[in-house]
Amino acid sequence: MTAWLGDIAALLTLQNLALCFTGALVGTLTGVLPGIGPAATLALLLPLTYALDPAGALIMLAAIYYGAQYGSSTTAILLNLPGETSGIVTALDGHRLALAGRAGPAIGIAALASLFAGLATAVFIALAAGPIAQLSLLIAPAGLAGLIALGLFAAAVIAPGPPLAAITLILFGAGLGLVGTDLGGGQPRFTLGVTELRDGIGFMPLVMGLFGIAELIRCLETRDRPERIAPLGWPWPTGQELRASWAPTLRGTAVGALLGVVPGVTTVMSALAARGVERAFPPTGTPLGQGAMAGVAAPEAANNASAQSALVPLLTLGIPGNPVIAVLAGALMIHGIAPGPSFIASNPDLFAALIASLVVGNVILVVLNLPLAGVWASLLRVPFRTLVPLIIVFAAIGVHSVQNSLFDVWLMLGFGVFGWLLVRLRLEPTPIVLGFILGPAFEEYLRRTLLFSRGDPGVFLTDPVSLSCLALIGAGTAALLLRRTRRAEPYARLDEH
């Protein structure tokens, strides 16, 4: 433990602190702007980390990630227009507080609850990730393939829109992940004879096109301008408000940290669960839904805790549990870092860097969010359309500069067109990215399993981990079908009449 704390202290150089601060600042800046979610934010800001060493890049990327989560609460409270979906839950009480002239204290409580949750979850990750990773090293390839399949199934079920669509998109994304040179035999596959595709489809063009460009188009097509921004006031809460918030913060942190570990659970689900838990407790002061501080503290703590503990399945099993973590996983791969069972053992310095980033970054975010809340609010007055040209230019330069390749820019354009088509079809692109990342890993474990079992697929039914995963997938599918049948019944009855 002492050595580990020493590792963290060694990482807190002036450069890394500056990177953490810059990441938190840029993440908050983009998180504040309604419309662009953290996945798109992370994708668009990825080029900023190219010139950095892996530890610095990881520190900055993590800071951008939770900075974007943090920033969304300001917009949710002031405008009732969350920058990120989990802010919807905060907005329920937060915006009522803003309308009652308590916007400043509400933002203060959101920042303090997030700080506590962030620090507590950093300790949780530091303590839990190592043992989980040790356990996962004991899992056979068949079990790992089963776990990936289960993670993808959970992501598909929980993704917005119909699960059938999400599953189809995940499978298609996995197909995109196969493009390139086959690792088993060294032959090019699905490259259509294009030399540039022999190394596979780049993660950057894919994610910039699907998330970045398509998300910007969607924002321009659907964006509503806020008519009035609530006055901010002094951000420090009163003693009574602090007393009403500490218990919901503790409960929200526990709910978020535990739910975040489950692949497929998003921050908005954790925030909703934390709010649901609060309903079971007698209100301290204003009831929930009428401008209660508990309605800000609990979801904000849950949202931040969940966002951070979602790193556990990525770092220990290599499974990105949600779309934002999927983008983060891709970003790590670009920097030559492979998340998975051996990540912590092989890269103790990087793991320490991540924990250091979580601790320091959360403190920096409170410093940024409390005194600068007025600055963030004024940013909301900048017309979004004036920012779009610069974002696109940075995205194009970023994609081009990875390999100095114009082909990648054309590829980004192609995925931008495809992403726009998905927007028009009201489909979410995130399952494609999850499939793209996990498809090749699934194939690799499948290949190893069949190699060890000499082509016998029965091993998936004899391996206990794989069998458990298959049973859970089967049970989930049955539950989905049952729910669908029950929903369809009223229409069938209507048809009979």
Binding site: L164, L178, R189, V388, V393, R426, Y491, L494
Partner: protein, 164 residues
Amino acid sequence: MAEDLKGRAPLTSETLGPLVFLGLGLAMMGLALTQPAWIDGRIGPGLFGRWLSAAVIAMAMVWFVAARHSSTAPARRPARSADAPPLFHGIGLLAGVALFALALPMVGLVGASALAAFVVRWGSGTGEVAREWRACGIAALAGAAATLALGWTLLPPGTRLWPA
């Protein structure tokens, strides 16, 4: 009422989505079939591709049937917006990226960024260059300045900022 419910739903975004992915699945299958599934008793490059494309095709068909069924149910029929979003936002942004890629070899990074920013600003606004030419011009200048700043600080020294 029942007649209404039993009527065939037109091709909507709910049913078009699965058809798009059915086509993509078929294309994937076509490509996967060009690769061997097994080589000397070991997994070949085409096996997983065939499984995946077959799964995409199957899921897209089930999705299509489910979407067709649910689009006949009144509660789930999406409300049709009278004013669909204009296309020029998307066209403008995508044209800006295309222009960037086309112009880069000829005019260098700064010029390509300025051109892209000009077109993207048009796509982000009302869609009328005549009315917004000043804003587009400012965006082009800002794009060029930002690229210069990036080029001098973060990009590799060999990056071609200007025309050769």
